[in-house]
Each structure stands twice: as structure tokens, then as C-alpha cells.
Symmetry: C2
DNA sequence: ATAATAATTTAATGATCGTTAAAGAATTTG
DNA sequence: CAAATTCTTTAACGATCATTAAATTATTAT
């Protein structure tokens, strides 16, 4: 049985909120990356001692994956909102603009946990990199499917390449993440988004 | 006096070629990033023991900076070739296409040392991140200047924004680097380049 | 030859890494 | 109450981190 947020009915109850400390750990990973976030950093970020962390989450890698899961749950609505837009240009616009919002929000560290985490590859964390790359791939597929629908619906030309369009968006998205991490501001990034969308092959507008 | 490639005339001569081991270290950093590249990795990559490395390069950080310098010297010709193109579209095309070539070359690790190195930020390597971000900024400026010239020369409209154009290229460049690191192939990336350039605001063509 | 110098080798340093054993504290069950 | 269970705390584990001291080796200068 996997660990849940509910403490067992017997024994000493935990005195921290699981979701709350996941969020704290998430921000630590987001700031420093997987390798850059030591257990000492996690301890102070989460306000817990190592054995409590291990008791609740297994080890550092599974804590990281738990954080990624939480991160995905939080960002999924943005993707669903994007693919729910009425045409492909609005899909792309919605994706990139909420990405910029997400990457430059006051409440969050700069950049994107998934994209930037996949940039690192210490030998010890190759499995982390592949894990994150897989997530990015699944995310791309969501947009490929959406653009195939756009071709059927006629808001993209018949000869449009859904895979290319989706990959293009992901490349811009990734680039924005690195640019945000390098300290560029939200207005600057939004200008780039609008330029990146000015070549979109719409049929209607 | 800073260390040079020439061994002092007196004392035991070094038995390794400085430039050669810089190149070996460079590839190690390129593969694993600054933090991910331990001294053990460097020792085996360079075929040297730690004290020889320290003797020749100071410490890990200054070895890294030496590698970056070498990397810059090797990539500078590509940028100079790009800004030497006759108009801004060709400048952009040359930049992105040689970037893809560079990031997916058989001889090199995937991605871009500068861009991806700046993605990480362990507390210990914040200075590294800023160092790399500065390099990227200087690189951007090169293209800003070039596009200002393009406006004067008339191959960009008078109302074009050179800073935006340069930043757009850098964002795409950074995105391509992450995409390459995630395993995407050269043909895929070149298709994205051509899409990324299809919105270029040329006056002539 | 001897002295001086510098690179290499071996082996170790203290710090920090992720992880865990052992003991103490808090709760439910019988 | 006592027993059982589970979390927290303290303190440590071996491994690895970047770095260096000391001894050895190879070369030039005298």
C-alpha cells in the first residue's frame, strides 16, 4: 500500500501536512534542480528532519517524483485549457502565454521544473532526465492530437504538420524557460511569444 | 603570471598537451554540466591525476572557465560568419542552422554547454550560472548590433525591434539546445528552424 | 655531479552527500 | 493501566565531494 496523506489510525500522528511539504520540496527542486537540491536543503525547506522525509516519501528520488506529480497536477489545467481553445492559433497562444505567466510568476521560482530539470545530467540522475523527457514527450503529444483535430476542423491547412507545430511550440516553450531562468522579465517574454506566433499557419482568424 | 601551454624551461616537463586536455574536460562538462562533472570524471576524461589538473588549471571552477573560453573561441567563428551574412534573414538562418549542426554533431555531446550549463543552479554554482548568462547576453548583443545595421541598410523595416529579434533568436536557440539534449534529431530540429524563420520581417528577399 | 625546479604519484584531508540505526515521544488498541 | 504502533529526534553511517601535503621522478642550470 503506497503512503497516503492520512496517517495510520494507530501510532504517533505526523505533525506536518503532506501536501504542504510536497509543495515546499517542489519549490526547492524548482530553484536548484534535482542534483542541486541536497537533503540538507530539503530539510530546511520542508521544516523536517531527514528521517521524517524518508518515512513519508521513501527517498530523494521518489520525493522528487512525487513533487513532479504534484507539479503536473497543477499545470495540467493550463494545458487542458489550451487545447480547449476554439482554434489552433488560440491553442498555441494560450499555451505560450500561460507558460510565460507560470515561469515568471512572483510566487514561483523562475523557469520550468520539467524542462530545466531535463537539462542536467549527472551520471547519478540520468534516470531523472529520462523521466522528465518522457513527461515533455507526453505533453507534446497532447498538442499533436489537438492540431490533428484542427486540420479536420479546417482551422489548419490540410498540409499542416501537427508534429512539427507541436514540436515548434515545445521548443519555444523550452527556450522561454531558459530565458526566464536567465532573468528575463515577463513583458520581454510576452513580446517574444507574440513574435513566435506571428508565423502560425491559420486558415481563419 | 598565468599558466600557459608552455612548460617552464626548468624542472620536470609536463607530459600532456594543455589544449588537448582542455578539450577533453570541455566534453565532460558539456555532457554532465558543471556540478555533474566530478573531479573523478575529469581525471578519467583527461587522463590525469587531480594534482596535475590543479597544477595546470588552479581549481575546478577556473578549469571550467578555461573550457568555456576554449568553447567560445571555437564557436565565435560561427557567430561571425552569421553576422557577416548579407541580410538579417540570412543572419538568422545561418545562426540557427549552425547552432543545430553544433548541437547535434556526432563529434560533440548534445545541446549547448553555455545555454544548458546556465539551467542548473546548485547553491555552489550560482556564480557559474551568472558567468554563463553574461556570455549569452554578450552573444545577444552581437545580433542586436547586426540588426540595427539591417535597419539602416533597409533589409529590415524601420519599425523593426532589433532587441526583440535578437532575443527571439536566442530563445529559439536555447529551446533547440534543450530539445537536442532531450534526444531530438538534426532533421527534426532543422524543420523547426525553418518554421521559426518563416515569420522573419524582411523587406527584401 | 649537484642543486634547483617543476610535474607526477600516492595518499590523505575535512566537508558534504544520501541514507539509516537507535532512542525517545505521542498516539490507539486491548 | 500496558502493549503495540508510528512518528520525531539525535546521531551516526559509508561514499563521494573538491582539494592538497608529502614523496617521487624528470628535467635544466651551475
Amino acid at each position: 500500500m503506497p503512503p497516503t496523506n492520512k496517517t495510520s489510525t494507530v501510532g504517533r500522528p505526523r505533525k506536518f501536512d503532506r501536501d504542504k511539504v510536497i509543495n515546499l520540496a517542489l519549490k526547492a527542486f524548482w530553484m536548484h534542480g534535482y542534483d542541486g537540491t541536497s537533503m540538507r536543503i530539503l530539510e530546511s525547506a520542508m521544516g523536517l528532519k531527514a528521517p521524517s522525509i524518508y518515512g513519508a516519501f521513501g527517498n530523494k528520488e521518489s520525493l522528487f517524483k512525487t513533487c513532479i506529480e504534484s507539479y503536473n497536477n497543477k499545470t495540467r489545467p493550463f494545458h487542458l485549457k489550451a487545447v480547449d481553445q476554439p482554434n489552433s492559433l488560440l491553442v498555441a497562444k494560450c499555451l505560450l502565454e500561460s507558460a510565460v505567466e507560470h515561469m515568471t510568476s512572483e510566487d514561483n521560482p523562475d523557469g520550468c521544473l520539467i524542462f530545466l530539470g531535463a537539462a542536467v545530467s549527472s551520471p547519478s540522475s540520468d534516470s531523472i532526465r529520462h523521466y522528465l523527457s518522457d513527461i515533455a514527450s507526453r505533453c507534446t503529444l497532447l498538442y499533436v492530437d489537438r492540431f490533428e483535430r484542427s486540420i479536420e476542423e479546417g482551422d489548419l491547412p490540410k498540409n499542416a504538420d501537427p508534429v512539427l507545430l507541436a514540436n515548434y511550440l515545445i521548443v519555444v516553450d523550452r527556450g522561454l524557460a531558459l530565458q526566464a531562468k536567465a532573468g528575463h522579465t515577463k513583458p520581454d517574454l510576452l513580446k517574444i511569444v507574440s513574435m513566435a506566433l506571428s508565423n502560425w499557419p491559420c486558415c481563419d482568424r
